[in-house]
């Protein structure tokens, strides 16, 4: 009486293998050629995620939540609110895309701008201070991520690969 089912055990196994092969890796580690085993422990593992990957992941989350409205999803200084800011303050949100310009922007200055706002580094008050909203770790991570944007825009290769000089907090 019980109806037959189409998918048999071995087909399910194949499906799982195929699906997991496509999705279980952390996005940051993608393209490194590592072959993940189709297992839960591989799916949850922190192994293979370097500290810089973790830092960039946190940075991306923070950036997406707080920064992208003005600085843009890809850091081009073109968030949906950018025009309004430039109308109100006469300055545009900084673009993180230009590698040369970003290289001249020292870590200490950048960290101070994020923590204490634009006026602390002689820039516009349109950039508020985030030092009471973000932890020191998050500030450092978001800078890490912002620097990775410049690298990816410039070389046009895969983003957030971590091939960036590490930003150090508190220096």
């Amino acid at each position: 009486m019980r109806p037959a089912r189409r998918v048999r055990t071995w087909i399910s196994w194949w499906a799982i293998t195929a699906l997991v092969g496509g999705c279980s890796k952390a996005p940051d580690a993608a393209g490194q050629g590592a072959k993940p085993a189709p297992s839960f422990s591989a799916a949850v593992s922190a192994q293979g995620r370097s500290p810089i990957d973790l830092s960039l992941a946190t940075g991306r989350d923070v950036y997406g939540h707080f920064c992208s409205v003005c600085h843009g999803d890809t850091g081009g200084g073109d968030g949906f609110n950018a025009y309004n800011v430039s109308e109100a303050f006469g300055v545009t949100p900084r673009s993180f895309a230009d590698r040369a310009q970003m290289a001249s922007f020292k870590d200490a200055e950048a960290l101070m701008a994020i923590r204490d706002g634009g006026p602390a580094v002689g820039k516009s008050a349109a950039m508020p201070a985030w030092g009471r909203t973000l932890t020191p770790l998050e500030v450092a991570d978001v800078l890490q991520y912002v620097r990775s944007l410049a690298a990816s825009q410039d070389t046009n290769t895969d983003s957030a690969s971590g091939q960036v000089a590490p930003a150090t907090p508190g220096r």
Binding site: M1, R2, P3, A4, R5, R6, V7, R8, T9, S12, I16, L19, V20, C23, S24, S39, F40, S41, A43, V44, S45, A46, R49, S50, P51, I52, L54, S55, D61, V62, H65, F66, V69, C70, F80, N81, N84, V85, E87, A88, F89, R115, D116, G117, G118, S124, A125, M127, P128, A129, W130, G131, R132, T133, T135, P136, L137, A140, D141, G170
Partner: protein, 672 residues
């Protein structure tokens, strides 16, 4: 969002100001208390840090042995992982890496240790022994560490810092796993599937056949699982379901023909897409309306919109105050534009459902359908005529974590023999262990591997062998419903406020929590807003629908919100008097802090936060006590708010509030 800003700096400052809170009374020893203060201080050191960067460091060190008798912790982990609290080491290789995220701000290692969350053997003196996998067979590192969050966060749906566990719990709830399995010992909630009473009068049988074959073919966000039945059995189920009829059919008299163009306009201006997506654009919480015109019969749609809660008592949808002709317009639009062109609907009048002839006689078909309906336990998710109680045929999952890998039947698989692997494969592909197809009872939810991972994390967090003492446990409101006085309660029900708003955590989070709305907004503003809602935050796509409330209804709701949904602590602040210098001081603060970047004044300013001059002026909307409290620390009132924490003092906040409340007069001056 995950960015709760419940200000670690606050906790640390509180501890530093009032040492007795963290003192010997709650700590095993004075030594621990001293180290606790050291360990908790980085957040407070952060402010000092702005002046002297060298002042950090000492505050971030941890002792090589963490001890806490209450939790039974004796962890030597910090003898190698020594820099967990020091952001300087965040890019160092293990074991010197600092701990990612902000979890340690709220879970300082000196109080919680390491092993309660990460498993392993705290007292071990070799790396291998120390890093032993947990009972479920995985090391509790990376995303798997969230399994441990469930030890203390017993039934919360949203746990800050544990996105995978939260997502897994939401998926479990959404799939109504507790229909067939006991999970968490709680009694089953209401059935989440729609009531099947009268379904024969509502839906098109051709649609129903396709739906049962694969619900996600109809709507990508469909909640119902697939059962992988052969066509003839699906047909039998359709035959049986079509016998669920109301005594009297819905009748169309009193409704005009309807104009689809007007209906389309009304659909848009009523913000139906705040909840319903239309072909994947719009809200995701409820079923996509993209092809609803092929699913539901016209008479039913007319009556659903006219008397929503009589026709479908369990629905989350509010009762709109449309006129008969407006309803006819909307239905005309749905039936004309939102259809599935790929199939021809059945003709309800002829009684034929145009399906294949799988069964020699209709009575046989219905009979088979009835038996299948029972066997598949459809009634565990749906109310149906003559419905029985819950018959849970699945294994108990409340203490899944205690299950031994040796007790598991692995079928013909060769997976690593750990509990975690077993659960993950089962969730992702329920048939994987069945030796014959008919042995499989569980339907298929089509979870992606990522979703299966999150569900697995949530299931492995189900344990009854809880070691943490009560003081560590965190319980949520669960499924409590609001209890409100008669008239107010009736209207909150009628307009289904909690389908979008939570009230002190009860309800859904599509819009803001209204738990302290009465302390935030003035009664007159609430009344006006309810009568004529407008866009408060331009950034958001969901909008409050226009309910066309009567004056009386808006009055009852405004009174109720003011009286019952408030925060006595904020109310106790009262209204602040405006000092003569305040507006000018406030203006300087406003300009110096870049507020205009997100908020609009006059024609200038950003679109991130609410505008201060379009819609209602600040002075009309807010109570000044709330405004001052918000400006002092917005994150204490709304943890995920985008507004940065400026750290304004009471005086500064008061001045700023006075400036904002004086805005209509100052508009031209301030927007220069």
């Amino acid at each position: 969002m995950r960015f709760s800003r419940k200000c670690p700096a606050d906790n640390a400052a509180a501890v530093v100001r009032r040492p007795s809170v963290a003192g010997p009374g709650r700590r095993p020893s004075m030594r621990a208390a001293t180290v606790l203060l050291l360990a908790l201080s980085p957040a407070s050191a952060w402010r000092a840090d702005a002046e002297s960067p060298a002042s950090r460091g000492a505050a971030t060190t941890l002792p090589p042995l963490l001890e806490n008798d209450t939790l039974g912790v004796r962890d030597r982990c910090t003898s190698c992982h020594a820099y967990l609290l020091d952001p300087e080491h965040r890019l160092d290789p293990q074991p010197r890496t600092s701990h990612p995220g902000r979890l340690l701000d709220t879970h300082p290692p000196i109080r919680f240790g390491c092993t309660p969350c990460h498993g392993g053997v705290g007292e071990a003196t070799t790396t291998r022994e120390a890093h032993a996998p947990s009972g479920c067979g995985v090391r509790l590192a990376g995303d798997a560490a969230e399994i441990s969050c469930g030890k203390c966060h017993l039934n919360e749906l949203t746990i800050e810092g544990a996105p995978h566990l939260s997502h897994g719990r939401a998926l479990i709830r959404n799939a109504q796993c507790d229909g067939c399995h006991e999970i968490g010992g709680s009694p089953p909630r209401d059935r989440l599937g729609p009531s099947l009473t009268g379904i024969g009068d509502r839906v098109d049988p051709v649609w129903l056949f396709r739906w049962l074959k694969n619900p996600r073919d109809y709507a990508s966000n469909a909640r119902m699982p697939r059962f992988e039945l052969e066509d003839k059995y699906i047909d039998a189920l359709v035959g049986y379901l079509m016998t669920f009829r109301l005594g009297t059919a819905f009748d169309e008299t009193g409704f005009p023909a309807g104009d689809p163009t007007l209906g389309g306009n009304l659909l848009r201006t009523s913000f139906c897409i705040s909840c319903h997506a239309i072909n994947d654009k719009g809200g995701t919480g409820v079923i996509d309306l993209g092809r609803v015109g092929s699913k539901l019969h016209r008479p039913y749609l007319l009556h659903l919109l006219a008397a929503t809660h009589e026709v479908d008592p369990g629905t989350a949808m509010p009762q709109y105050r449309f006129t008969s002709s407006q309803i006819a317009d909307v239905v005309a639009y749905l039936r004309k534009e939102l259809t599935d062109p790929s199939f021809e609907s059945a003709d309800p009048a002829s009684g034929s459902d145009k399906l294949g002839t799988y069964w020699p006689a209709e009575s046989k078909r219905v009979d088979v359908g009835r038996r299948l309906f029972k066997e598949l336990r459809c009634g565990n998710c749906h109310v149906f005529p003559g419905g029985e109680g819950w018959i849970r045929i699945g294994p108990v999952l409340s203490k899944l974590a205690e299950k031994k890998a040796a007790d598991i039947s692995w079928g013909t698989t060769t997976f690593p023999r750990t509990l975690a692997e077993f659960v993950w494969h089962k969730v992702g592909s329920p048939g994987v262990y069945a030796s014959a197809p008919h042995q499989l009872k569980m339907p298929i939810y089509d979870f992606t591997p990522e979703e299966a991972k999150d569900v697995t994390i949530a299931l492995l967090a189900q344990s009854e062998a809880r070691t943490p003492p009560d003081e560590f446990l965190v319980r949520s409101h669960g499924d409590e419903s609001l209890s409100l006085p008669a008239d107010f309660g009736r209207l909150v029900q009628r307009y289904r406020c909690t389908s979008c708003h939570a009230v002190n955590g009860i309800g859904r989070n599509i819009s803001c929590d209204l738990g302290a709305e009465g302390s935030r907004a003035r009664r007159e503003w609430i009344y006006k807003y309810l009568k004529q809602p407008y866009t408060i935050r331009p950034m958001l796509t969901a909008r409050m629908p226009i309910f066309n409330l009567t004056d009386e209804e808006a009055g009852i709701l405004a009174d109720g919100i003011t009286k019952y949904w408030n925060d006595p602590q904020i109310d106790a602040l009262g209204d602040f008097p405006v000092r003569p210098s305040d507006p000018e001081t406030g203006r300087k603060i406003f300009e110096g802090s870049g507020c205009l970047g997100c908020h609009q004044i006059g024609a200038k300013g950003g679109y991130v936060g609410p505008s201060f001059t379009s819609g209602s002026p600040v002075v009309e909307r807010f109570r000044s006590g709330w405004l001052v409290r918000w400006l002092e620390n917005a994150h204490a009132l709304k943890p995920d708010v985008l507004e940065p924490r400026f750290g304004f003092t009471r005086d500064q906040a008061q001045a700023l509030a006075a400036y904002l409340m004086a805005l209509p007069q100052n508009e031209r001056v301030s927007s220069r």
